[in-house]
């Protein structure tokens, strides 16, 4: 009799927990961040480009902006800061355009460090500074339009192979990590440069990663580090059969316990385009579409292929506490749990175009 009662009580509790968990009130998006798209098109016979803006949740939007087309004038991870200033880095230059939309008419300021052969892949906006990095050079553009160039190859041994990304650190710092692992005194390590945003001094750090003897791992590539440098995220391929079939693994490594804590596996895991934002590791877009994982355990936040959208999700960008996911016809505001909070229509003139989001960083 007592057992039956216990069982009943347990079932009741389980049912209650299930109901409570499934009825959790979702996060709400109240237009606290601007949802903005940019479409880039070239005017071929004039050798210029035009950036067209679409603002989906605000009435005022920047007018089309004509820019000189040096080679490719597609903005690279553009964003808007807390003051409402839009920053536009580019893929092929050391120039950042700043649009001030807070005034009655949009003003445009160009900050150009004049670096030759600078092709910034990584972009980070933090504390009013825009940081751009190509494989070996870091450019810090300050909000007073001054700038500083740091050649990271000159900073430390072992020699930097190529900057893999920029990550916001703790206490006004930023980390730039080498995408290639190094071997120092027989130990595999990740090379990380910590940049103090106040002094703009650079400190190289070596973080342990997996044992160098594990030779079956191929093409190991560092894709991220945690803000406190307690975790390193890297990927590699392993041979899964004698027919030389390989599979990709993405791993979270604890630098204190020197153990791999979590693994994300997928047979078509992209090698490029990983970025970090808050508690997330994500890929904006790629041949397989976007990816959004939790940094804590590398679990996927959302399976984009199953979202009830009209077209497949093509692109992803941070928007404050949320994420923007874009299809050909819709822009979704996703919560940190991957729930759809709001849906906007893509303007017809942007339909089918390769538009990009204006990101809003508020970690």
């Amino acid at each position: 009799m007592g057992k039956v009662l216990k069982l009943a009580a347990m079932l009741l509790v389980l049912t209650a927990i299930f109901v409570v968990v499934s009825k959790q009130s979702p996060d709400v998006f109240r237009d606290e961040y601007p949802v903005m798209l940019i479409n880039h098109s070239r005017i071929f016979d004039q050798d210029t480009s035009v950036l067209e803006f679409a603002c989906l949740n605000q009435p005022v939007c920047p007018a089309p902006l004509e820019i000189a087309s040096i080679w490719d004038s597609t903005p690279n991870k553009p964003g808007v800061d807390q003051a409402g200033k839009i920053y536009l880095p580019f893929y092929n230059r050391s120039e950042v355009l700043y649009l001030d939309t807070t005034r009655t008419s949009t003003t445009c300021v160009s900050v150009d460090a004049g670096l030759e052969n600078f092709f910034p892949i990584s972009v980070l906006q933090v504390e009013g500074k825009t940081l751009l990095a190509d494989l070996d050079t870091l450019l810090i553009v300050r909000d007073d339009a001054s700038h500083k160039v740091i050649e990271l190859t000159a900073v430390a041994e072992p020699t930097l192979m190529g900057i893999g990304g920029l990550v916001r650190g703790t206490e006004n710092s930023v980390h730039a990590f080498d995408s290639s692992p190094h071997t120092v005194e027989g130990e595999r390590v990740a090379l990380v440069f910590t940049i103090d945003l106040v002094s703009e001094n650079v400190t190289p750090v070596l973080l342990p990663i997996f044992n160098a003897e594990e030779k079956e791992r191929r093409r190991v590539q560092i894709v991220g580090v945690s803000a406190d440098l307690s975790k390193v995220y890297y990927m590699f391929s392993i041979q899964t059969s004698e027919q030389d079939e390989s599979q990709m693994r993405l791993v979270m490594f604890d630098t204190q316990t020197k153990r791999e804590l979590h693994v994300y596996r997928d047979h078509c895991l992209p090698r490029q385009g990983y970025r970090q934002y808050g508690n997330y590791l994500f890929i904006s877009s790629g041949s397989q579409g976007p990816l959004l994982l939790r940094l804590d355990d590398l679990s996927p936040v959302v399976n984009f292929t199953t979202l009830p959208t009209e077209f497949q999700v093509l692109t992803l960008a941070p928007l404050g506490r949320f994420f923007l996911a874009g299809t050909a016809s819709e822009v979704l505001v996703l919560s940190g749990e991957g729930d759809i909070l709001e849906t906007y229509r893509v303007p017809p003139e942007f339909f089918g175009k390769k538009y990009i989001f204006v990101e809003y960083w508020d970690e």
């Binding site: 039956v4 079932l11 599979q247 596996r265 047979h267 078509c268 077209f311 050909a328 339909f351 089918g352």
Partner: protein, 292 residues
């Protein structure tokens, strides 16, 4: 209350609660199956749409709203015009094929596959978090109202065309001849002659035999149930994918389709034909002269 009745009550309540709990847990697996008749009707509808696009003959007007009938004509016009303006070619024929497979949320075989097969496209987290797994991404049916549903489907359109300009008149060949007349360097002249020959050999099959290009189009259709069957009332589509912008883009605004024709003039071929022979020739002369 009679104390003897309590155990009897518990005997009834406990299994009942267990059953309810089981139903809650199993609910995703117990959803009603997809309507087979609807799938067959969609098959017929898409086959007719494909036929109408390929032949230009709308034999079942009831399958399409008035605006959709206009869109079918527009699509045929688009492929001819795109080939003509964008690719300097003449449309010979086109074929179309729709690919769709109904979405199977929470299918048990898919779930088992994900758990047991590490090569599966889904992940264990999908299963644990209760999200659907191993879902074919190329087709989805969503009910919008009692008489309307949307259909997400992929189409492959193959366009057969012949290049309109003979190899001798290809702009790059004309430009190379222009450069050849202006060089005294025998090595540069030799290179230019070889360039002319190889370019003409490359272009000739497209002029004489023709060629084909394929558009992979992603559709989102609004389909309405009418007393006499299904009717497509809107078809939004694009070939925009994760890498390239779309060429064949049709959106809808207030019940009318909007066709993007800007893509006619952004092709490499269009740009080539809008350069002067002199400009092309100068570039070739510079390339081969600097090379030597």
């Amino acid at each position: 209350m009679n104390r003897r009745k309590i155990p009897k009550l518990i005997k009834v309540v406990v299994p009942l609660m267990g059953f309810i709990f089981l139903i809650i847990l199993m609910w995703p697996f117990l959803r009603p199956p997809i309507n087979r008749q609807l799938l067959q009707d969609i098959d017929v509808l898409l086959d007719d749409y494909r036929h109408a696009l390929v032949t230009g003959d709308i034999t079942e007007p009831s399958y399409y709203s008035q605006e959709m009938q206009e869109l079918i004509k527009n699509r045929r016009w688009f492929y001819a015009e795109y080939m003509n303006v964008g690719l300097m070619s003449e449309l010979q024929a086109l074929t179309s094929e729709f690919y769709y497979q109904p979405r199977k949320d929470y299918s048990v075989p898919a779930l088992v596959t994900v758990l047991l097969d590490s090569n599966s496209s889904g992940t264990r987290w999908d299963v644990l978090r209760g999200r659907s797994v191993a879902v074919p991404v190329d087709a989805q049916i969503r009910v919008l109202s009692d008489d309307r549903f949307s259909l997400r489907v992929t189409e492959m359109v193959t366009v057969y065309a012949k290049y309109s300009v003979p190899p001798e008149e290809y702009p790059v060949v004309l430009g190379a001849h222009w450069a050849l007349e202006r060089t005294a360097d025998p090595l540069v002249a030799k290179e230019l002659r070889e360039y002319i020959t190889s370019t003409m050999n490359e272009v000739r099959p497209s002029f004489e035999e023709g060629y084909e290009i394929v558009f992979i189009l992603y559709h989102h259709m609004i389909v309405q149930r009418t007393p006499i069957g299904l009717q497509i009332i809107e078809d939004t589509f694009t070939d925009r994918d994760t890498i390239f912008p779309g060429v064949d883009n049709v959106a809808w605004v207030d019940g009318n389709f909007v066709r993007d024709t800007s893509t006619f003039t952004t092709t490499a071929e269009y740009l080539l034909y809008h350069k002067s022979v002199e400009e092309i020739g100068k570039n070739l002369l510079k390339r081969y002269t600097e090379g030597w």
